[in-house]
Symmetry: C2
Subunit: 396 residues, 2 copies
């Protein structure tokens, strides 16, 4: 189970919601395990999951007929699936279908509601929720369909609810932690693969190919690949280009793909040959900041306090001019889950948070330096999900 049901229900109750509708790909997968390809690779295709408050009826999936094959193949446990749209799926009657195929055949014989909102409304009415307070995740539904939903349910109270999912997703279930650990591991193995080819004369693109190819061979899909070298490493979102590595260059990795649908986001620094005194000093300072976070983070601690302590540590350890907008964020199905490690945040760490703590530094004309680890907040502290050290690595 990916979804933290108790936490979602709790927040729905405090918000007075009788039901909630997931529409963004992250929230659809979170609520149901259903990975509806089309909405993950484009903006526009609609797939929803309706989750009622306890006692108000079972969950329902709303899916286009063309994505039903994934319901069968992924063995989605929600039994109430409403489909919309014509999509031809034929059947060889001489062959015994497997369980997933039988399920697809069965759903294909159910009513075609024509469009996603009509299918959703049918599920809502079957649960007697047409006068209820219904939270709708506003991220994945198109504004036109949101308007239509409000129009066809005049007695319901429709409220935006992406923040309710964000709240629930902040505390990971055991299965989510397992997936995040695997995703972080794949990112580390991919950095190792890139560093295995790193030497003077190699281009940024070649480093990136080695990185992403390893992510793929480990079962992940590339997402974030900020891999730049020398002065170009100072670009926070820099994309790998034609620059050729030279002795003394910094290589900055701010990287992570998606594995089992869960994101990775980690950062490491390597230097070709030997590092300058400035690189060594600054890297040690930002790393001291990261290590300070390990000492401080535990349930009940304010994220803003950790922000302040981490920045203060980096300043004391050799970079008095260090400034930063945040030193980390949650991670999960999305790359930026709650909580935020910002100076203005009012959030508090809770057991089960999975977070990326980072202390990046970007100096044009010099380089970018960054360390970023993924951590899991436990009952009385924090557990690293990393297998590699954040120390400066020398290659080539």
């Amino acid at each position: 189970m990916l979804m933290n049901e108790a936490r979602l229900f709790d927040r729905m109750k405090s918000e007075g919601m009788d039901a909630i509708v997931a529409t963004a790909p992250e929230n659809v997968t979170y609520s149901s395990g259903f990975w509806a390809m089309s909405q993950w690779i484009r903006r526009g295709p609609q797939a929803y999951v309706l989750t009622s408050a306890p006692g108000r009826g079972p969950q329902a999936v709303i899916a286009s007929t063309g994505t039903l094959d994934l319901i069968g193949d992924q063995d989605v446990s929600i039994r109430d699936v409403r489909r919309f749209g014509f999509f031809a799926i034929e059947r060889d009657e001489s062959v015994e279908l497997d369980e997933g195929e039988k399920r697809v055949a069965e759903i294909c014989e159910s009513e075609d509601y024509g469009d996603p909102v009509s299918a959703l409304v049918a599920a809502i009415k079957d649960r007697n929720l047409e006068s209820a307070v219904i939270g709708v995740d506003e991220i994945g539904i198109t504004p036109q369909y949101y308007d239509k939903l409000v129009e066809v349910l005049p007695r319901a109270t429709i409220r935006r609810a992406a923040s309710v999912f964000r709240h629930a997703r902040a505390i990971k279930t055991a299965e989510e932690v397992r997936r995040l650990r695997r995703s972080a591991r794949v990112a580390e193995l991919s950095i190792d693969a890139a560093l295995a080819v790193a030497r003077a004369g190699i281009s940024e693109r070649e480093l990136a190919y080695a990185f992403h190819a390893k992510t793929i061979s480990e079962g992940g899909m590339p997402v974030l690949g900020v891999i730049c070298t020398g002065p170009r490493s100072a670009m926070s979102s820099g994309q790998p280009g034609d620059r050729i590595l030279r002795a003394g260059d910094v290589i900055r990795f701010d990287v992570g793909g998606r594995c089992l649908h869960y994101r990775a986001d980690i950062a490491r620094i390597a230097v070709v040959g030997s590092a300058s005194e400035k690189v060594k000093k600054y890297h040690a300072a930002i790393r001291a900041g990261l290590l300070r976070a390990y000492e401080l983070i535990k349930p009940g601690v304010k994220t803003a306090d950790v922000f302040n302590a981490v920045v203060e540590t980096v300043r004391k350890e050799g970079m008095p001019h260090y400034r930063r907008n945040h030193v980390g964020h949650g991670i999960g199905l999305d790359g930026y889950d709650a909580p935020n490690l910002t100076p203005g945040s009012t959030e508090v760490f809770e057991e089960g948070n999975c977070i990326c703590v980072e202390t990046p530094y970007y100096e044009m004309g010099f380089a970018g330096l960054q360390v970023e680890d993924t951590m899991h907040v436990t009952r009385d502290g924090v557990e690293s999900l990393m297998s590699t050290s954040s120390e400066l690595r020398l290659v080539g």
Copy 2:
């Protein structure tokens, strides 16, 4: 230049729009060449491009301070860049910056508008457009920011405008056709790479690794990777799994990454060893449908007429039961641009359309068969962007 300026301005005029705001990643890149990483890899981060009608002022980019490095590195030609949000970018004063870095440094010294809508509104007011009709692409802007824009510009008329961009994007500029050709080529090379390892005993995942690794080594990023075998190939959105290839299996590729930001979406069928009579007959039928499209498509022809002719051809050539919801769609920055090749479409082919024509067939218990080519509509016909044939391929 990616944007078809004349066509965009034309539609803005007929819709009575004085200005239009791109907010979805595809439309931001389309309007400006600016690829703002954060909005491409997540939903939520905001980046906009304001384009005024002729004579109403120059374009403006609205970008978070943390993405300005990409404005410099990508040499975005729009000079009016408004930034929002604190993000620390330091500078080594002892080093002469390059042109891109200097530009970043300069924009960093300009006003921080705090949030994207405030930055956008400043650009709107500088163009005296606060009482104008402003189209806003509703796909990338969060509903909260859309509401805020309406609130802070009470005298303006704000209208949803994603359809205006979709209309403009349907006719490709020469640079777009070049990129689509390259992206299609990378997809073909990636299929070749997968087929080079295909033989009995190999898993679907191994085929997919070979496919995506080639996409990456050719400079693309993986997006669509429907690569399934045997009866699993009947799943329209099927994802590569542990199934092991056997003699006689169909391998269905419905695939394509992103290259130079442009999508590929092509389909090919291979068989391990020798193909059954049914596979040969059905493949020939769907291929005849695809080839019929080449004969028919030219400017002025209705897309619905091509749909009907293609389906009719497949039926006549050996699959009288063939049914389909569409036989193709446009392609560009998005995987589904206009026009649609559907029975209900009122669209007409125009010179400059780039389209994917496809005739998929899914039969549970048997297999999925599909051919899909990317084509460019020319003055008097259609040009294939493919380098490989859609014939059935035998491997292993």
